[in-house]
């Protein structure tokens, strides 16, 4: 393989030209002939029996074609399981439309289909639902013992529990420790809130039995498989197409009930049926994340060495989690020791149903392990009387200790825990900041610094996530098309694949085009999830390109009368090593391959196209980072101003540093938002309070500092040494920000254990903490 010419470089994105000129194709940009529009009637009650639905007035409204209720759509469900979970997973029963009972405010109760979206919205107001309000289960911290049940058939509001070593196994460790630090730490609900909401157009053609779906999704093949099973349409007759998805962050990785309804309605409607949710629906019904707490404790030796760690974790999964959330909860427990030398650990992890919107995947679904651990470490440092950075230095894993098996059985390798923290601290000049902080305190200003370090398993190498395919065609003209499941959702995967392919084949990057997001053209791939795209597509491209390189070099050697081993591929030409003047272009080679099949060397097939499927070699690729944040807190108003934000990350060699930094920055700002601003709030009756972007506050440029990046490159055991980097920013940021604020407020004796750190909450903390 020739040295990377494009990989590693800040190559400009191939997605940009269309997106910058308004020529992207998001699902709402697609208008099909005869297309009809859907709008949901949604429950205004957190929990209510549905005693009847009168659709007559809605059906009589202008332009209305259909009004569907549960009785119309739900009986058509054949199967409804997500590929990565399998048919046997103990999923929550998911009626597409609420039948006997509405279980959260926003629960879809009826589906109105009209000639325009406005007409459908008007008619939705005319659907009369006979609701009988029931007492809702709103607070997940008391739900376990509530009289009311979210799902009566489940028999309990506890979805499931998993555990590691029992707490009693660590009794001796905690009893004999020099220091034991315990706290209960809460994180509020927040939402992915992609700029584009969910949406799809489903078109069933009865004459051919084919379903075509245009979708806003991270995983077009998952949408296809799900639809196939849901309606019993053979998979090869379902085609899912996505070109541009306007952000997803986990929310669009799996099919939810609203999308099921549109799929089920499409054959009945007999026309393309579009549903694109508005912002209110997105914040009401597309799913929440976080909303969890844990009692956490750590035991320390006299010198600060961690001797044991235990976490009792509880998460709220709403009424209809997607998918089954119990495993993710266990991951919080298993990863709680983080990148530290922790000899003994254990956990419990419990998941609770409530009458609120369902939990969905969101960037770093188990990030609470880092939040709880890192916040507890800072609290511990203050109580023990040691600098929090010094406490971490004494406990972070050193590279020469790897591979390291954490006490829950997770074996880390290829990480650089201590190195990233030291690099980030050096970028800050930690000692200088401490001096500045002391001087500022003397002047009545409260500065703080917080760090966080984490290790994360990226690129799941098991089940449906464990493989990825690429098809590469060197076309008859010598230009190249690479087909991969992929699909642009903000992750720059088109650019990544083009870079990888250009280098893998030795062609000029302008000669490479990529086709993605269409299940009719690409082989199965599980989509963008688990920070898997970089490593998996690199593997798929490398395996496929290797097949073509062999054939290209054989044809070139034959034509140039040279030995195959002497043929080099570079800049879309094959040349003889040491004699670059003897060469042949890819265009000439392709013309031979397609148009003169009888002139090819023996054993080389005609054409230049190949497909191969990469299978992950390891169950996960570990990736780590350290974040350092500084801030100033106005102790009168509670306002937090972030001053500097530094990330030192180890994602192995970078395919494109701009893409890596863009992913980290985006994740960091979502994490900052989660700590300081964002709160998907409900009142005590289960009414959502934040269904507009005036109420659900995401950060703007004015609240965000410049983010500084440090890179450490420890190659992974995967293709190219690459690691996943999509989620890490959102994992590392929350604890760094919390710790910075807590450090700023340390003169006031304040202990932060509840989020968000809104100005009013900070002022309240200061009042409570005041001696």
């Amino acid at each position: 393989m020739s040295a990377g010419r494009y990989t590693g470089a800040r190559v400009g994105r191939v997605e940009d030209q269309r997106l910058l000129t308004g020529r992207g194709t998001y699902v709402d940009d697609i208008a099909l002939p005869g297309m009809l529009h859907a709008c949901f009637v949604r429950s205004p009650f957190a929990r209510a029996a549905i005693n009847g639905i009168d659709t007559s007035a809605a059906l009589a409204a202008p332009g209305v074609r259909f009004v569907f209720t549960a009785a119309d759509l739900n009986p058509d469900v054949k199967q409804q399981w997500h590929t990565s979970m399998g048919p046997a997973s103990p999923e929550t029963p998911r009626p597409p439309l609420a039948d006997d009972e509405a279980r959260f405010v926003g629960d879809p109760v009826a589906l109105v289909v009209a000639e325009t979206r406005a007409g459908a919205e008007d008619a939705a107001e005319l659907v009369v639902v006979d609701y009988e309000p029931l007492p809702p289960v709103v607070d997940y911290t008391t739900a376990e013992h509530a009289d009311a049940l979210v799902h009566a058939t489940h028999g309990s509001n506890v979805v499931g529990e998993l555990a590691g070593l029992p707490a009693s196994a660590l009794d001796e460790v905690f009893a004999s420790a020099a220091h034991v630090v315990s706290e209960t730490i809460f994180q509020q609900a927040y939402a992915a809130a992609p700029m584009e909401g969910r949406g799809l157009i489903a078109q069933f053609t009865s004459a051919t039995g084919e379903m075509t779906i245009h979708a806003a999704t991270q995983a077009p093949h998952e949408v296809r498989l799900f639809c196939s099973r849901l309606l019993g349409i053979p998979e090869h007759r379902v085609r899912v197409v996505m070109r541009d998805t306007g952000g997803a962050f986990g929310q669009k990785v799996m099919v939810q009930r609203d999308e099921m309804c549109v799929m089920l309605a499409a054959p009945k409607v007999g026309a393309p049926l579009k549903w694109v949710e508005d912002r209110r629906e997105n914040l009401l019904a597309a799913g929440k994340s976080r909303q969890e707490h844990a009692a956490v404790r750590m035991a320390f030796a006299d010198d600060g060495a961690i001797q044991g760690a235990y976490i009792d974790f509880v998460q709220d999964c709403g009424a209809y989690p997607t998918p089954w959330p119990v495993m993710t909860a266990a991951a919080v427990g298993m990863l709680f020791p983080g990148p530290y030398r922790v000899p003994r650990a254990g956990f419990t992890a419990k998941t609770i149903y409530t009458n609120t919107v369902g939990r969905t995947a969101y960037r770093g679904p188990w990030q609470f392990e880092s939040l709880a651990r890192e916040v507890l470490l800072d609290i511990a440092a203050r109580r023990i009387g040691i600098d929090p950075v010094e406490l971490r230095r004494r406990n972070l894993l050193h590279s020469d200790e790897l591979p390291y098996r954490n006490p829950n059985g997770m074996t880390y390798d290829s990480i650089s825990a201590l190195e990233t923290l030291e690099q980030a601290l050096e970028m800050l000049d930690y000692d200088a900041f401490r001096a500045e902080q002391a001087a500022a305190r003397g002047a009545g200003r409260y500065l703080g610094v917080g760090t966080s370090s984490y290790v994360e398993p990226s690129t799941p190498g098991y089940g449906s996530y464990g493989t990825e395919a690429a098809t590469i065609r060197v076309e008859p003209s010598g230009t190249v098309n690479v087909y991969i499941a992929g699909g642009s959702a903000g992750n720059s995967i088109e650019t990544t694949v083009v870079q990888l392919t250009a280098d893998a084949l030795g062609v000029c990057i302008d000669d490479v085009n990529t086709i993605q997001g269409d299940t009719a053209l690409t082989g199965f791939g599980a989509g963008t999830a688990g920070s898997r795209s970089a490593s998996m597509t690199a593997g798929a491209v490398a395996e496929t390109a290797a097949i073509l390189r062999d054939r290209i070099r054989a044809i070139a050697a034959h034509r140039l009368e040279a030995a195959v081993d002497d043929i080099e591929l570079s800049e879309s030409r094959a040349s003889v090593r040491g004699t670059p003047s003897i060469s042949i272009s890819f265009a000439e080679i392709a013309a031979l391959a397609y148009f003169e099949p009888y002139a090819l060397p023996p054993g080389v097939p005609a054409g230049l196209e190949a497909t191969a499927r990469y299978t992950a070699a390891v169950p996960s690729i570990w990736v780590n980072a350290s974040h350092v944040c500084t801030c100033e807190v106005d102790v009168l108003t509670g306002r937090v101003q972030l001053l500097r934000y530094i990330v030192s990350e180890d994602c192995g060699p970078m395919i494109n540093p701009s893409v890596v930094e863009g992913q980290i920055a985006g994740g960091v700002v979502q994490g900052i938002g989660g700590v300081l601003f964002e709160h998907l709030a409900y009142d005590e009756a289960g009414n959502p309070l934040t269904t507009t972007l005036m109420d659900y506050l995401v950060p703007s440029a004015a609240e965000v500092p410049a983010i500084e990046f440090g890179h450490i490159e420890t190659p992974s055991p995967g293709p190219g040494g690459y690691k996943g980097v999509g989620e890490g920013g959102a994992i590392g940021a929350p604890p760094a920000v919390v710790n910075a604020v807590a450090d700023a407020l340390s003169p006031f004796g304040v202990t932060i254990t509840r989020l968000p750190l809104s100005p009013s909450n900070i002022v309240k903390l200061l009042q409570e903490g005041a001696p």
Binding site: E15, L20, D28, M195, G247, G490, I664, L693, S700, E703
Partner: protein, 161 residues
């Protein structure tokens, strides 16, 4: 509901159409004129994705009714560049600085920044962040966008030098 006839100039072209009085300019541009580059991200004037120029002023087209724009001169993202297939300085700067990822919010940012730099060709970093706070991006963390505004000032200066 009765439709009303309106005529607007969009990206230099005279366009006529019929619309309900309640239809927003954003929906009219997207649904009636098939100019789908203007995106609707919140429908209530917060996110800025739907920003267009109306008689030279940046407005949120989700907060303007199409009938209010009757007779106006509108520039959308499709018309912000010098000619089809070529990027203007703000677009070029966004590309160079990794100022976009999923691209959904991007048209609103490009139009807002174009309008801002026409008024204020040499802004400070704080002024840039203050101006950008009227648009929301969920992908980039704003790092590339802030850099792109700085870069755009250079490109505009080079072009007019």
């Amino acid at each position: 509901m009765t439709d009303q006839a309106i005529a607007i100039t969009v990206n230099g072209e005279r366009r006529k159409g019929r619309t309900e009085a309640r239809t927003t300019l954003a929906d009219f541009l997207r649904d009636e004129l098939a100019l789908t580059g203007t995106h609707v991200g919140c429908e209530h004037g917060v996110c800025g994705a739907c920003t267009v120029l109306l008689d030279g002023e940046a407005v949120r087209s989700c907060l303007v009714l199409a009938v209010q724009a009757d007779g106006a001169d509108i520039t959308t993202i499709e018309g912000i560049g010098p000619e089809p297939g070529r990027l203007g300085p703000v677009q070029q700067a966004f590309m160079e600085c990794h100022g976009l990822q999923c691209g959904f919010c991007t048209p609103g940012f490009v139009v807002s920044v174009t309008s801002f730099l026409a008024e204020q060709p040499a802004p400070t970093d704080d002024e840039i962040r203050e101006m950008l706070s009227g648009n929301i991006c969920r992908c980039t963390g704003y790092q590339g966008i802030v850099a792109a505004v700085h870069r755009a000032t250079e490109l505009i200066e080079e072009a007019t030098a």
